[in-house]
Subunit: 255 residues, 2 copies
């Protein structure tokens, strides 16, 4: 069983994901926000490749239960109901029963690319739900449903981002430990080793990692410092969102 981390979508080779379990990470902020929305009661999130695709999806769905959410350059998109701050998706009255058509600069594209490359459901992971996702992936791997496990970091404009690699490294640690406990010692490929080392060097520094990262600094300059604090908390949720190629929903229906 090979365990790998793809440090940026630019490095994604399609053959790498075939037959493997895959989780996508975008700590700041897409996967944090998707997890929060579903844990707060949203029915589903539809990750879109463009603003236009999101608008078309919401129109087709009927605007009654549909919401438009996401960002461009970190900011609210004109005509959208919600931005990409997880804090906007906390209130039950905003999200319960809603289908959210969601576009963000890096994360939603990474989720769609991962599904296209993998051909099977994709786990959605962030710091706020990393243990729950790790645990479910260990269970799926031990059930013999995969040749390996890959964590894909969304990064920023195709390049690596520190906060995603940090989260990926914590997940690698948990999956490695979980698999070893059931008698499987996975082979760590270089991407996984790099993520694990980076996370080990920064253990207990979650908020610092986010706040000193390039994207974290950018978000703070836009006034989103609270988002960093929220997204940096480990395991706020037990929620395990999964993308089936169409929509993201909770695998365990839990919050």
């Amino acid at each position: 069983m090979k365990l790998d981390v793809v440090i940026a979508p630019t490095l994604l080779a399609e053959d790498k994901l075939r037959g493997r379990l895959c989780a996508v990470v975008d700590v700041l902020r897409a996967t944090s926000t998707i997890t929060t929305a579903l844990a707060s009661g949203a029915d589903a999130v539809y990750p879109c490749l463009s603003v236009e695709e999101a608008k078309r999806g919401a129109d087709k769905h009927g605007r009654g239960s549909a919401l438009l959410g996401g960002e461009e350059r970190g900011q609210l998109i004109p005509g959208f109901d919600l931005g990409n701050s997880p804090l906007e998706y906390l209130a039950a009255e905003v999200v319960v029963g809603k289908d959210i058509f969601f576009y963000t600069t890096n994360g939603t594209g990474a989720i769609r690319r991962a599904y296209a490359a993998c051909g099977c459901p994709i786990y959605i992971a962030a710091l706020i739900n990393m243990s729950a996702v790790s645990s479910v992936m260990v269970g799926a791997a031990s059930a013999g449903r995969a040749e390996g496990i890959v964590i894909l970091c969304s990064g920023r404009y195709g390049k690596p981002s520190a906060e995603d690699l940090f989260c990926a490294g914590l997940i690698v640690y948990q999956i490695f430990t979980g698999l070893r406990e059931i008698g499987t010692v996975p082979l760590l490929l270089d991407g996984a080793g790099i993520a694990l080392g980076f996370a080990a060097a920064n253990r207990e520094r979650s908020l610092d990692v986010l706040a000193s990262s390039e994207h974290g600094r950018y978000l703070q300059s836009l006034g989103f410092a609270q988002d960093l604090e929220f997204a940096s908390r480990l395991d706020s949720y037990e929620a395990v969102p999964i993308f089936d190629g169409d929509r993201v929903f909770l695998l365990n229906g839990d919050s």
Copy 2:
């Protein structure tokens, strides 16, 4: 002053290198071998983009003082004088006064790409000379000759490799410390932060990092375990090789 690490050549954006000081790292084995050859008395190393380019270069130069060196898939190339093991380049009687036309799968291409993207001389760094290169780069940066510093990891087939990121992280640490001592606190971009964290987590584990890496395992399977030991030793040389767009030679003429 920004300090960054490009984790794999695939992630190299040309604008990122313009006006910056750049070092290229390929611990296993191109930059280790180039450093060894020059420190052992070779006149120059010509990094080539193909086997054919190396052969043409050697023929044109005249085979009297020319040597052909390098590898494909880790192995000696038919018709070449030397492979890509640094141990082959240690003996004075082999390399003194020689011009080595050199092709390797990842390293020589990364050096040429870095020069094309940067437009000014490129430092050649490995674990065996990392402190010397770091020190020279701090000096050049403090002399105001650059807007920033970038370490480019050669990686493997375009993907990140643990041993190169480890070396890059050690160099980042030395450059950061060196600049701070002269009153400049560089801004660490995400690539540099990731490399620094990974190196910090693996300090004192140099040989382990090489031996457990994907490329290190491959080289051991080919019988090159001694190369890993040689390439993992920190600061065996004071040599600072530099590539001027044509050839690599010693900046400080030292070994």
